[in-house]
Symmetry: C2
Subunit: 155 residues, 2 copies
DNA sequence: TTCACTGCAAATCATTTGCAAGGCC
DNA sequence: GGCCTTGCAAATGATTTGCAGTGAA
């Protein structure tokens, strides 16, 4: 089930694909054709695409491509730090009755969400988006491992 | 299809429920039993619950409760600003190949996501969560209406 | 040969929609 | 009476899982 790199060269110059390939190798990711295509897509399209937008675009070049592979690839790229994953579109949302400005920290191990106080210097509202006519929401959050889970792991 | 407030008083003191009810009225939301129950739950549980956690807890007190009502209620409470909605758990994620620290702005009207530069004073990493052993992700985002959509609406 | 990667199909899970019935003003 | 709210059931949409085939080391 391998797709030749040749076919992709028809649409994209070798040098640009090379950038994506080297980007993957820098993060220790094996550069399969599908992975290079996803990485290349993200490097050349700064539109913050969804899974489906990436899949639909690339399926034209790689007819056998499957959504599963896109999911797998994006997970690997994200875990390796090669790409960012934005939770800006909220499904699986969580809710908070405390509406004063504060940030959140979610433990990737136990799933617990902690409140984070904001200091004056880093107030969220300071970085106003240039092309925003109105702002209705601002969220700052962190993900990582909480002290409790880190302690448990040490045992 | 109305549930009496009496039943809830069995478990929760009148004064605490009253706080939730008044909270809703302050935001111009009609205080039905279900809405008061959701608001009360969020005011007394600072656990950042999911839709399902809220539903499961309240279904014990209000046997006829439906998930649809929880979804409806949370949407209304959020739109009125009575609660926060956290997109911290990412489904429907969006991806970005540009990994340097920056924020995002998403237009609620056209769905486009714009990059936002961060100034020095508001650098995301400054507010370190107290109980974090390790941080793997930090995201800052805004939602609102972009200048393009605002201009179109004016026509 | 072994192992990692891919892709199909089915299953699962969250959320939305259509609609009917019941209260509130 | 008319509108708003609720709740059921069905539809939709996103993501995950199980599994089998295939190429690369």
């Amino acid at each position: 089930m391998k797709t030749s790199l040749k076919r992709l060269h028809f649409h994209n110059s070798r040098s640009i694909m090379k950038v994506a390939k080297e980007h993957l190798e820098r993060f220790g990711i094996r550069p399969s054709v599908q992975r290079v295509a996803v990485m290349h897509y993200l490097l050349t399209h700064r539109t913050h695409p969804t899974v489906d937008e990436i899949y639909t675009s690339l399926a034209a070049e790689i007819p056998t491509l499957s959504r599963t592979t896109i999911y797998n690839t994006l997970r690997i790229l994200h875990e390796s730090g090669a790409i960012l994953m934005l939770g800006i579109d909220s499904a699986n949302a969580r809710f908070d009755g405390y509406t004063s400005p504060h940030a959140h920290f979610m433990c990737a191990s136990c799933g617990k969400v902690y409140d984070v106080d904001l200091d004056d210097t880093a107030f969220v509202g300071r970085n106003t988006p240039r092309n925003a006519a109105r702002i209705t929401d601002a969220q700052l959050y962190y993900k990582g491992i909480c002290a409790d889970c880190e302690a448990k792991k040490a045992n």
